[in-house]
Symmetry: D2
Subunit: 345 residues, 4 copies
Amino acid sequence: MIVVMKKDATPRQIEDVAARLRHFGFDIHLSAGVERTVIGAIGDKKPAVLENIEAMPGVERIVPILHPFKLAGREFKPEPTVVQVGDVRVGSDEFVVMAGPCAVESEEQVVETARQVKAAGARILRGGAYKPRTSPYSFQGLAEEGLKLLRLAREETGLPIVTEVLSPKDVELVAEYADILQIGARNMQNFSLLREVAVTRKPVLLKRGLANTVEEWLMAAEYILSGGNYQVMLCERGIRTFETATRNTLDLNAVPVVKELSHLPIIVDPSHGTGKRQYVPAMSRAACAAGADGLIIEVHPRPEEALSDGPQSLTPAQFSQLMQELAAVAAAVGRRMASPAPVKW
Amino acid sequence: MIVVMKKDATPRQIEDVAARLRHFGFDIHLSAGVERTVIGAIGDKKPAVLENIEAMPGVERIVPILHPFKLAGREFKPEPTVVQVGDVRVGSDEFVVMAGPCAVESEEQVVETARQVKAAGARILRGGAYKPRTSPYSFQGLAEEGLKLLRLAREETGLPIVTEVLSPKDVELVAEYADILQIGARNMQNFSLLREVAVTRKPVLLKRGLANTVEEWLMAAEYILSGGNYQVMLCERGIRTFETATRNTLDLNAVPVVKELSHLPIIVDPSHGTGKRQYVPAMSRAACAAGADGLIIEVHPRPEEALSDGPQSLTPAQFSQLMQELAAVAAAVGRRMASPAPVKW
Amino acid sequence: MIVVMKKDATPRQIEDVAARLRHFGFDIHLSAGVERTVIGAIGDKKPAVLENIEAMPGVERIVPILHPFKLAGREFKPEPTVVQVGDVRVGSDEFVVMAGPCAVESEEQVVETARQVKAAGARILRGGAYKPRTSPYSFQGLAEEGLKLLRLAREETGLPIVTEVLSPKDVELVAEYADILQIGARNMQNFSLLREVAVTRKPVLLKRGLANTVEEWLMAAEYILSGGNYQVMLCERGIRTFETATRNTLDLNAVPVVKELSHLPIIVDPSHGTGKRQYVPAMSRAACAAGADGLIIEVHPRPEEALSDGPQSLTPAQFSQLMQELAAVAAAVGRRMASPAPVKW
Amino acid sequence: MIVVMKKDATPRQIEDVAARLRHFGFDIHLSAGVERTVIGAIGDKKPAVLENIEAMPGVERIVPILHPFKLAGREFKPEPTVVQVGDVRVGSDEFVVMAGPCAVESEEQVVETARQVKAAGARILRGGAYKPRTSPYSFQGLAEEGLKLLRLAREETGLPIVTEVLSPKDVELVAEYADILQIGARNMQNFSLLREVAVTRKPVLLKRGLANTVEEWLMAAEYILSGGNYQVMLCERGIRTFETATRNTLDLNAVPVVKELSHLPIIVDPSHGTGKRQYVPAMSRAACAAGADGLIIEVHPRPEEALSDGPQSLTPAQFSQLMQELAAVAAAVGRRMASPAPVKW
């Protein structure tokens, strides 16, 4: 850590800061520049201890040198993490597509969609049983009934299930049904929920918050990792900006940034990222070309009847067409896609 | 609601949309313009039903005419809501200042601070026992031990307590100690937590999310109100923008916007809003002049030793000075401030 | 246009608005809803006339139905525009790469770079002679001397030149040397400059402003098009958001959005868009997969000695490697890339 | 400046960076930490020289210690700058209100408005003769004819005039008529325009760009100051964020931030900052309480007939009411407001 003192800091203030740092066990490097004195603190301490040096008299600001995350960082673990879900290996050379409806609505809807996305090459089924809705008057999901329908769709198709959990008190129940626990964007910094999913040791899909930096996202992953659950996948799903042509701004820059800073796999959600189905194919191909490890895409047999997020859902036919385009792009960047497996009817 | 059809929408598509709207019980107004057909849906339906009209073939976009909130809106309840906490009436002609440390750290710290802020004119004591921290390695609060210390400070000073609750499972416990339950910015859309605090019927201080619009904020309040708890205070605490000179961008525009759209009181948090103590006095005065109903300010006897948010905490002396400045501004805009009450020692 | 009246609008206010709209030559559709009266104005008028209806008593807001741009829109011209620059056709099935140094620094630097990027397959040479710099103390470019060096590089390699023009008074001079006039992000709404480049009838590369929506960007293009110059290429170069891991947030969503709304070609600048060379290859591949018509990339023989933007410049070797990756992605999405042409030595 | 080396930087790379810094005339402080080597460069050099150190092999990032501005900074000039315009002293203890129509439309409109705002206590008349409009089809201003009408209004009322200049080629002409040259938000980084207004030695009102940090704004001021013109006033007019309830997000935090970093006066524009007249009074009072040196407010005798920005213009009666509220707030924060002067009829 570097402490930049104010121009008019007194020798006494400089010495007080140095003494405090030494007290915490740091070695001190003091550089008296022409306009500022800068104090370097050298040692292997947790940044949290130091935060309030900035509140000491005479201090202008502090500059951290190291990233605040440890377990999530590439320096801690240089080789990529592969998360195994059934026979699917997320983070390997396979480009993995997860697909399914936004919300589970009925047996027919979820089983039909599961068969169709599997036929098109999807490897994991998505579907929400607990829905975080902006309005208390909107459809809030089928809850455990929805989980049962997802389990049925898994039995019918063999596809593992990813589904969202909203509250610490539901974690145990959702973990009984789900293969992957999804943490939604609005809960990225719901720290009690993060601690709870860590306990399950189940794979977690951690969505990026709408207004969170990559660094904060990795710190959220750190909560899960430091709780002993190393099966974490990150999911970029769009950030909030001034642009209104898309519902959110899908930030594909996050793909190479995460790959540089972290060993965790990264999945991209172009459905929420753009909010409009006509932009999903282009952004899906782009995510693959940028080096993402997979996609999570909303597919609904009849989007105009969907109880949630219809405008951003692909039809099964559109999804099937996209999967063919993706196969070409994946090959161009050296990634493998599973051949569409025959569906049990 | 208005449905704008695409330029090349077919008569059949237009009729399908109209039929769907009629099926939902709406009256239809059809305007065939030069370049677009526009369908007006007239009736008193919940917007959620209509959302997926946008996914129908031939639809370009839908334009809601009404705000999505009901109970939180001024049209529902024109007169301002006053939230009563002990003898403090938030939303009345009194300009109410809440103050105290970011985190409860020790008996001495919290009782000392409570006495000092009361002496300076604060009417409610703030202090965190459960702390949402970006890093799992940072101080996470004293939990129930912290709540007990807050209760002690209340006994010593008579000041009601506002403190944050982070998880649905803690709501019952926190509600036993607190006079006001605070929902933090990161939990503004933690809908299970919102439903849980509604059940308590305790006054709630609902902070605005870092990336949430005023409309989404009022929808979060709607969760609490529709759960039967009408004692909701809003709290503006800064939004996330590109500017880095401040930790967040305190959005004082939200004050007149909320006053126009809603009957709920609005409190401003200049400490988190700016993140730097030197900007707190200016923004506090500005919030008062803009018409806010009160402030929530971080005060710590020794900010440089604070376990959390030291750089944005005022010292008791700075707070006392600020309270005098605020008294002048409040008077200029026709608001009353309580005279500093004598403290029991 | 739709005019939404306030809940308490009087019949007189409604009639006044209707009368004003009729006066402007519109047909009126009046829908008296349960909670609001909505007035539809039908006719083929320019939106500017109507703007201030919003200021009339009783009006809550106005909702435009049509996009404000005309000549830049796909409804005006459904087929894609191809901009011809020498034998390069931007917007055709060819994926066009422009490359070169941020700033022209010396004959050796610009000619050496031109040869190297041509050898790797670039089709157009970029280089700045006039540099918009945040600081008045930074290198401001070689001005006309820089333009002469660019001309020399064109003579040596045959590559057409794209270079920025900063001020209306320089347009004539820059147009004598340049094949494409670049309007920088900071000048996207410098309307006198836009009008001036329209007069030249030269191809224009119009960069998106850091905080401008796609709609505003197309309105800036409209200034050039309505001035009689139809040779406009758009260039996405990153927008400003809260994220600091990248210098800007390259918004690839703009690619499919522009393709939907406009017929103009779109080029992506991953160098400014990310600000860090290590992210340029991933975002270049992604831009191609998203359907962009080309790229503009900074290449410098010795980035650490560059007078401007060294950290985001690729070395010629890195650029050459990237061009091979791009060839594979372009093929996967059905685009052609020119074979690297032999350089004249 | 601090150079942070990568974890795996080689001794040779570290030595190369150190050698380069020494070559530029810096003293070097080398701190070999546990995880990173950090190099401090000490000396009084312009930051621009150092920028590309970041592009050297083995460098992770550079951290500037000093602000990039000099002449605009409080360290260079601790006492506040007062800009004298006629008998008005902006930056003194007087709280100065500038008011008038967005655009000059006719003799009657501008003279009538001038008289009314003067009667209410305004000290400077605003009005645009050259209008930067998003659409090429919108009213672009009366140009020199508008300047003549402003001069007429000054003759009638004695109020000095502030008006915008859009292009370097118009600076000389506008400077003949105007008392203060306004640089609009879209031109904050139009560096040729900044250099041109510096030459005039006329007072300049420099608006903050929609997506510019305070630091970049002060660097824009530095262009004017370093050109020899010290009469610079800053004007906060709202930044672009995700919030849509207001047209822009007026950032009052900028007031205390600018007061800390700079000696230049700061004016607030609540009309453009909010875009809606109903929010102008609250934000005007807030700006005054935050410590701004003045306001610039749009007033139009008949906003619903305004050719530009009607929805954000106050009527003369609303303005007059606001001026009385402001007088009370100004007094509360120790600022003086001129008594409304009698108008010549």
